[in-house]
Amino acid sequence: MALATDTLTEIGAGSNSTLAFDVERLREDFPILKQQVYGKPLVYLDSGSSSQKPRAVIDAMSELLETGYANVHRGAYYFSQTLTDRYEGVRKTVARFLNAASDQEIVFTRNVTEAINLVAHSFGNSLAAGDEVIITEMEHHANIVPWQLLRDRIGITLKVVPIAEDGSLRLDAYADMLTPRTRLVAITHVSNVLGSVNPMKEIIRLAHKAGALVLVDGAQAVVHGKVDVQDLDADFYAFTGHKLYGPTAIGVLYGKASLLTEMPPFLGGGDMIRSVSFSETTYADPPHRFEAGTPPIVEVIGLGAAIDYVTAIGHDAIAAHEAGLLAYATERLQQIDGLTIYGTAKEKAAIISFGLEGIHPHDIGTIIDREGVAIRVGHHCAQPLMECLGLPATARASFGLYNTPAEVDVLARALEKVKELFG
């Protein structure tokens, strides 16, 4: 099964990229994977929530703190200047990672949540009452609440695209929802609960045809395959470092230069200004206009190391490995009596939400934790989606580049123990 979309890398049958992918060797890069939980080897299946960090990221951050830390954009001294160069160098790395036309289009934020809030303010405040923003039923709270706040501020209309039975987006319903009043479509690339991969290129094409812009929540997507913002023609694209094997507290907002240039600042403070006086302040050009205050310097360096790490392994190889895991895990879990998988879209990333008949996900999580298996249970910050599915919660296994088929077997055996305990 390939993680195939019009945007995420499709692995052809003849691809030999998996030959170079040695998961056991890669696991050596992640110190935490040697940990035990209750005397059992850690089986970490919660990368969709936050991934573990390779030595390269840990070292880049600690080495910086030990040998070269200073503030950036301020000092006339050696460490500040060299670190400013490295910091801005990561911006170029991110631009290449997303294939942005320019590094001026890369804004550092705290996370995807902040990136979306930035757009909801700096772009959203230019909307008028009655203008429409379209989201979908499969959005994370991060891509729902900022738009509700905007609705409360200026009276926009918020429309929600439904999902089909298999967890894929109802593209027909979406197309019908676009009107001349639609100003923005804010949509996830990959569902964090169902794993569904949305046909982003077509979604964006339709939006542009209707005169609307598109903001893509790429938190789950950049992890599983190559994203090309120019090929997608995305207007805004957000992702976060900590799901991409990088540190927390560093996210990215890509915005087309033509849009960022016209947008007013989000937060005010140091670093985002050209000149300040009590009568008038002028703002820096993008991207610095949107980066008020001392930025997360160490985290930016960590993000750069994470992108270098992932790029060196190769998107194709990671995507192929994860597609194999998804196929195997799907087949293995389906063999368990009473287990239901939620989200069976044809285009799917390595995320499996499931339930066991008559057993609450919270109980599943507690019991398999004792087998060393870490999964997420609950509503996954997507309560409206849970309501659509008619479920209070699900259990979710999400896979990363370091997971193995043997770990899928551990999960499956642990789930059998849950059933045994519940009789």
């Binding site: 609450h360 919270h362 109980d363 507690t366 849970m386 209070p392 919660a393 123990k417 305990l421 519940f422």
Partner: protein, 156 residues
């Protein structure tokens, strides 16, 4: 299977979890409150009928949640009937200690209804699972909120 899991998921708990007692909405209920655990989405609504003397004459609940929260709600409805507000609160205090304090025994309890506390002892396995204490106490928090005249409580 590990003993700590067997302790947590004892037969009695699984039975109450699958077949909760007093899972209904009493028409004569004069107090109610919803308990909500935002972490896992569990929610229970506890209904109380109190008589003129301040005694709890009926107690029931509705809701959905994990085995622990539903079993605890179910067992709570079995031990509260006939109690005054003060007695109910005292029993909750003891039960809470039972769920959180390793060395706590029923001899140290403030409640006079030792038998009730001994029945609830079966839930003490949550001590080994700190994040699950909220599950075991969800309905109890809702019950005290209902007695206090509130209508909603969350276990943040």
């Amino acid at each position: 299977m590990q003993d700590v899991l067997r302790d947590l998921y004892q037969e009695v708990i699984l039975d109450h979890g699958k077949h909760p007692r007093n899972h209904r909405h009493p028409p004569a209920a004069n107090r109610s409150a919803r308990g909500y655990n935002p972490l896992c989405g569990d929610q229970v609504t506890v209904y109380l009928e109190t008589d003129a003397d301040g005694h709890i004459s009926d107690v029931a609940f509705e809701g959905r949640g994990c085995a622990i929260s539903i079993a605890s709600a179910s067992m709570m409805t079995e031990v509260l009937r006939g109690k005054t507000e003060t007695e109910a609160q005292q029993l909750f205090d003891d039960f809470h200690r039972l769920c959180t304090e390793g060395g706590f025994t029923t001899e140290q309890a403030g409640t006079e209804d030792r038998e009730a506390l001994e029945r609830l002892q079966v839930l003490a396995g949550v001590r080994e699972f700190p994040v699950r204490v909220k599950c075991a106490t969800l309905a109890w928090h809702a019950m005290t909120s209902a007695l206090a005249g509130g209508d909603e409580t969350t276990t943040e």
